[in-house]
Structure formats: structure tokens, C-alpha cells
Subunit: 511 residues, 2 copies
Amino acid sequence: MSYAELQRQVAKINDVLNALSVLTWDSRTQMPLGGADTRGQQLATLTDLARRLILGSELRRALEGAEHEVSSQAPDSIPARTVAQVREAVEVSSRIPAELVSDIAALKPTAQAAWGEARAANDFPRFQPYLEQMLDLSRQLAEAIGYSEHPYDALLLQYEPGMTARSLSALLGELKTATLPLVRAIAQKEPPRCDFLNRDYPEDAQREFALGLAKKFGYDLSRGRLDISLYPFEISFTRQDVRITTRYRRDYLPTGLFGVLHETGHALYEQGVSPELTRSALTTDFLGLYAVGGASFGTHESQSRLWENLVGRSWVFWQVQFPALRATFPEQLGGVDAETFYRAVNRVSPSLIRVEADELTYNLHILLRVELEMALLEGRMAVRDLPNAWNAKVKEYLGLEVPSDTLGVLQDIHWSTGYFGSFPTYTIGNIMSAQFFAAARERLRGLEDALAQDDYAPLLKWLQDNIYQHGRRFSPQELLKHTTGKPLTTGPYLSYLREKYGMLYGLGEQA
Amino acid sequence: MSYAELQRQVAKINDVLNALSVLTWDSRTQMPLGGADTRGQQLATLTDLARRLILGSELRRALEGAEHEVSSQAPDSIPARTVAQVREAVEVSSRIPAELVSDIAALKPTAQAAWGEARAANDFPRFQPYLEQMLDLSRQLAEAIGYSEHPYDALLLQYEPGMTARSLSALLGELKTATLPLVRAIAQKEPPRCDFLNRDYPEDAQREFALGLAKKFGYDLSRGRLDISLYPFEISFTRQDVRITTRYRRDYLPTGLFGVLHETGHALYEQGVSPELTRSALTTDFLGLYAVGGASFGTHESQSRLWENLVGRSWVFWQVQFPALRATFPEQLGGVDAETFYRAVNRVSPSLIRVEADELTYNLHILLRVELEMALLEGRMAVRDLPNAWNAKVKEYLGLEVPSDTLGVLQDIHWSTGYFGSFPTYTIGNIMSAQFFAAARERLRGLEDALAQDDYAPLLKWLQDNIYQHGRRFSPQELLKHTTGKPLTTGPYLSYLREKYGMLYGLGEQA
């Protein structure tokens, strides 16, 4: 009875969080400008209601009864996992003072606005006091959540449970050591031809082609839709309604095309969650106040990267797709063949802006952000020293001079919203994506043949069976262990990078 | 302090109700089919949360303090009205048992589905048991709300506070007496030419033209938008975000065109509510659990009808607009002049379907429904006798044989959702629209000239000043009294109908 009551209460919390997501989707894709302020108040109220339900006495009572009721069940059964996750959510949430939550929520819009103005005006000092406040609140948040080694551990808990500053630093160190020589070797090589990517690609045709690929991957449009937004995202309101957005650049084909494949990967994850987990604790991020089926931010990102990069930027993929793409854009791609196209969309070229980075240098962008975040949190660095430190790292890792803070330390919105600790999940996703994909290759007979025949159903089914269906029932570590037999490891990712870019740039064995 | 606290709590309730509206809009315009079930659960949860907040001890405490605090203020001041409306809402809501609320909510989707099946199969008996249950629950609801004379009074309270079965019957009787001879006289006359309304009108051009008119009326698209839905509606999430929908028939121009003008009227009302009432009790329908600025359903409908009919179907309007319409559709309207068009869109022709009825016979559709509703509620009629009674009334009032229940008693969704008492608000809106418009004509110098010059700003401003800005601060009766000096009266509406249709059909004085 108590467990059923707990499920009932969790379902209501999940409903509220899904309603929040509908309001968020609407505000980014449909809402007229005038609605922004009152929408913000609606979001704040629903967030507060959700938090009140999580911390309320009703849930606590049901939880206590449910813990007793399911105590004899296997520890990784759905009921045991349900009560464990609700328990942890209640414990952690109740350690965070309500005042701190509202201070962060109140600072967010003003800090974001200051960041926007500072970025537009290339004026870091304008943002500095807000970033100092946000850093201070994030430190307080870390202390409230608690940690044994590093304040960053507490912040990581919100995005990537089980990950620590220590293990993250080790992973990033391995990546850095392996990536820098590759990037430097590639810099010596002739860049591939890319001019045709910048021709005039009408948006409707881009949309149709990209959505066609998404459907081939298995994106179910009876439970989804594709819209336009300034920043692409995927969002779901249970597995039954999983929406993606993208943006199209008429003068640059890859933005819309790979943007759609990326968000499709996220969407396939959410659409693949088992129906029995709908409205359950195992599709609820109680800490992030977000109804989501993915095990962690990194795990989610691993699937967007897997479908975007390991499938969608592979040679076998463009061998199959290119004829149809050229038929869609006969003038723009006249005289271009599949290999030339494949080389172009995999060009490695260090750049200043993270979201425009290629697959290889992308992680260097993350690396420098994580190093700076940790230094700020530890107090080893002051906010005012951030621009210089940023520029030095860009020089060191990417070999570029940063001409302005707008193109440097002010480029990302993340810090203005207090999301310290979220950047690494992008790189964790990259590492995981290769580890999962290598396991699929090894364990799924006929995968290569299927992909060569434009058939993605076997891969999707393997990912659903091994990852998607479980929602948040297993931790990222458990999913990796079950699926690949190993903890998170850079091996498969580094092999993938070395093989792919070695071939593309003729680097030979030593690179 | 208590009043401020009451305002804070009401703002949260208003936020939740606005969130509900966003979810409703999304479900009718954007949601993929697969999302329907979980969306239903999200709506139910938010509805339940809103009800809990309204009946909670926090609100009650704040209300008691606020009543004391504002007791010296003028009775029609905003604070006095605020506490009075929250008090009434709390009192009435707490009289309705939670079980009855959830019984009605639970019956709604199944009754609606049964109605849909029955309508499709022309099979009233399939719907009958559900309608019997819904009628029984509606009777229980009326008893719970309470009334002194007639159970219908209690149901009307939800939609049209202040209206009673007695006064409604008197109004409808006056309409019937005046309308039937008009309709019969018109039936003897030559019908106007209408063939050109059924030519091929591409939807994009319809949309652009209709939206152009909406903007001329004053619909602010920085706080609104126009979408397509199966059934047209207006919905708002505060005055800052007021959306309308319509449907277009390629083969019949008036559906989309007048549909947009109608919903624009609703939207102008909501956009015109004073900003200081945003998120207040005076933009909250606590009983209907709906965030809305209009004083009542009938008052709201009076504004959709005013802009659609009294402005949008007037001779002066089409004198001004027709050249642009013909320029938009030169082939479809070749050889048609403004007067011919004006006559066509005002054709009177008794029909079986309410939503397709002309302005004059429309009220007869409402009349017969209200008579049947009252008979059902009083127990004077059994549900199984409804089809025969329906058909007899259609014969009597409209002179038509009903060939099937699909085109008869099963045509409207309302009864399957339990909305007994909502039909009369359409006719109340018609009556009010003429009363308000007559007052504007009398009191607003230069109105005729402005309209003849395609200038709607003076009319909009008069309506904003006298009606829209006040939100739900004043009752419909008070608005009428302040604005027209009289209670609700059929005089101006009957004069309008007699004058307009007398001219159109050359009926002379006696009709």
C-alpha cells in the first residue's frame, strides 16, 4: 500500500515536472516575446510546488512505509531502486536551504542578462560581480550538498552521479595527452575541401532531409516533432511526447543537419524508455527538477553523440546517404562525391567557439572550462583573473589567440546560470558514446552489414534493450558495466579518434 | 501584510491555472497524438494542485487576515473585490465534495469518447447511460453548490454569475417571440446569391487576410499568435500572451474569416485587461479553475460577437474591406461587389447545426438546448426521451426535419463534458454585445466616422476603458449598469436584428 502510495505521489511530481517542460518548450519555440516575464513566474511557481511536494510530509510518510514494504526485494529491482532514489533525493534536497535555492533562482535571470550585455559589449567587468555572486552561491550549494574530497564532487552529483573531480581529472588528462598530438599532426596536413558546405541550402529542404534521417534512425513522429529554436534542444513530456528542435543556417549545411541527428539521439533515448517507467521515480530527476528518462547528463549526451558522430559522421553512413543528399541539393553538391563530403564534415580545425568545434578539438574546449571551474571553486583563481587564464589555455590547447572576451570567456551561458559542473558531461558523453558503440559492434552480430544497408533498427534495439528501456534505474557506471563489462574508460574513444582521423588525414600509426 | 500574502498566494494559483492553459493550448495545436494520455494526467494533477491550493489552510488564513485588513476600503475597490471573490470561491468550492469533483473528472473522458462513438454511429443509446450519469452528477453538483429557486441557477453560477433560470427564461422568451416571425418572414423572401463563398480559397491567403483584420482591430501579436485547431478557441496565459486559433475551409471562406474575427474579439478582451490585475484574483476564475480576465462567459462572448458580427458583418465594414478582399481573391470574387458580399455573409437560413447557424437563427439553437437542459435537470424529461424532444423543437423553431441524431441531439460535445448551463452564455453574449455596442454608439462621438475610415482604435479604447481593463472586478450586471445604465435587456439586440435583417430582406416595419 505504501509503495503504491509512493508511486502515486511520485507520478504527481513527475506530472508537474513534465508540465514545467511543456512551458519551457513553449517559451523557446512558440511564445510571443511579450509573454516572457509572466512565463518566468509560472515556471518559478511550478518549480516551487514540485520542490514542496518532494520535501513534503506526505512523500516522507509514503517513503518510510514503502522502504519497509520493499525491503526484501532485490537491490536492483524497480521497487528497490525507486525507494532508494526517492530517499536520496529527499535527503539531498532537504540539505539545501530553501533560501539558497531561491537566491540562486533569483540571481539567474539578472546574471544571465548581465552576461548577455557583457558578451554583446565585450565587457567582462560588467559580468564579473554577477559571476562572483553565482560562484559564491555555487560554493554554498556544494557545501550544502556535501562531499568528501572536492566541492566539485557535490556539483557533479547534480549532473553525473558517481563522477568525482578526481576521476574526471584522470579521464580528461588521458584525453588531453592523446588529443594534443593528433591535433598538432593534423595541423601540418592539407585541409579538406569544404567550400560546398557554405552554399545556399534552402531551409525547408534541409528540414525534410534531416527529418528523413531522424525517421530512419527510428524517431517516432507520432510521439514527437521537430521545431526551430535559437539553441537546439531535446525535451520530453514522458516517452509519449519527445520533441526536438534545431536551427538552420542557409549558408552552412552542417548546422541543421547534424543538429537534428544530435537531438534525435537524445530523443531516441527518451522514446525508448520502458512504458512501465512512465511517471515513475525512474524517469524523474528530483534534484534537477526535471522529468527525464536518461541515467545522467553524460549518458544522455553519449546517445546524441553516438547517433550524430559515430553513426552520422561515419564513412559508411555517407556512402549510403550521399546520393539522396545530392539529389536534394543537386546544384549545391554538383561535382562533390561522397568521400569529399565525408572529409568535409569531419574537418579538424581548432576554433574559438565551443559549439562550432569539430569532434576532436571539442574536448579541449571542455577541458579548459573544467580546469577553470575547479580553480574557481577551490579559490585558487579569482573571477577577475578568468579572462587571462582563459586566453592562455586557448593558446596552449588550441593554438589560437583570443581576440575578445566575446569570442572567449563570455561565449557560453552556463556560468551565468550557475551550472558549474555541467560542462564535463559533454566530454563524458563522448567517451561513453564510443564505449557503448564498441560494445554494440562486438556483441551485435551483423551491425556493420545493417548500417551499410541503411538499417538502424538492430542498433536501436540493442541500445533500447541495454540502455534506453531502463530509464534512470541503473547508474551510468552500472549501465557501462552491464553493457561493456568495464567502468568508464577512454580506450574505445581514443581508438575511435585515432583510427578515424588517422585515416582521414593519413597520419600513420605513430600519431 | 495579510492582503499582500493573499495576493502572493493568489498569484501562485493563477500561475498554476495559466500553466494548465498552456498545456491545453499545446494539446490542441501542437501535441503529437501519442501524448494524449500522459497529457491528460498532467492536466489532472495541475487541476488537483490548484484546487488544493484554493482549499488549503494557507489561503484561508491569509484570506481571514486580508478581510480584516481591507474592511474599511470601498466595496468596489480592488482590494475589497479581491477578498470578496476569494471568499466566495473558497466557500463555494468547499461545498463541492472532492469525490464529486473527481467523479465528474473521471467520467468526462469516457463520456466524451462514448459521445464521439455515438455521434459517428448515429447511435444515441450508446451515449445514453453516460449522459444519464453525467446528468446525475450535474444534479449533485447543483445541490452541492446550492440554490434557492432552480438547480439551473447553481450551474449557471459557474459560467454566468448573477444569472438565474427565471431571468434567463424571460430573456429567451423575448428573443423567441421576436425572432420566430422574423425568420418566417425571411423564409418567404428570395435568398441572396452565395455561390462565390464556396469557391477555392487557399488557406495561406485566408490566414493573411484575416490576421490583417485582427491587427487592424488592435490584436497585438507581440502578445499573441494565431494557430490552427480542430475547434477554434482563444486562450490566454495572462494578458501578456493571448493566443487564438481557427480552422480554414478551402471551399468556404466565412469559416476561417469570421472565425478569426470572433476569436480576436475574445483576445482583445484579455489583452486589454489592466496590467495591475495580472496574476490577481480579478483575473482568476476559481470555480472554473481557469485564469481568465473576462467578467463571465457571456461577457466574454459579447466581445467575440461584437467584433465578429456588429463590426465584422456590418455594411460599413465590408464597404471598407471588400476592395482588399477582392484584390486578395480576384478570381474567386470576380464579378462580386461589396453589397453582394455583405448580403451573402448575412444570409439567414435555418440549419440543423448550431455552429453553422446564422446570427438570427443561432439563438433558436440555444433556446431549444436550454429548454431541454432545464427539463432534464428538473426531472421533467428522461434522457431516453431527449432525441424525440430535440427533433420536435427543431421542427417547431427552425422548421426542419432532423434526419439523424448525429445531425441532431448528438451534435454538440457540451453535455458529454458535463457543461450543463454553459449554452445560454452564447445567447447572453449576443444580447450583451448589442447593448454594449449601442452604448458605444451613443456615448462615443465619432464612432461611425472612425469605423467608416477603417479606424477601430476609438472603439477598442472605449471597450478597454469601460469593460476590458476591469477584468473580473465587476460583475456582468455592474458592467452593464456602469456602461449602459441598464441591466441586461433584449431591447438593443432586437432593434439591431430588426433593423439589419429588415434592411437586408426588405421586411418593412411590421416584421
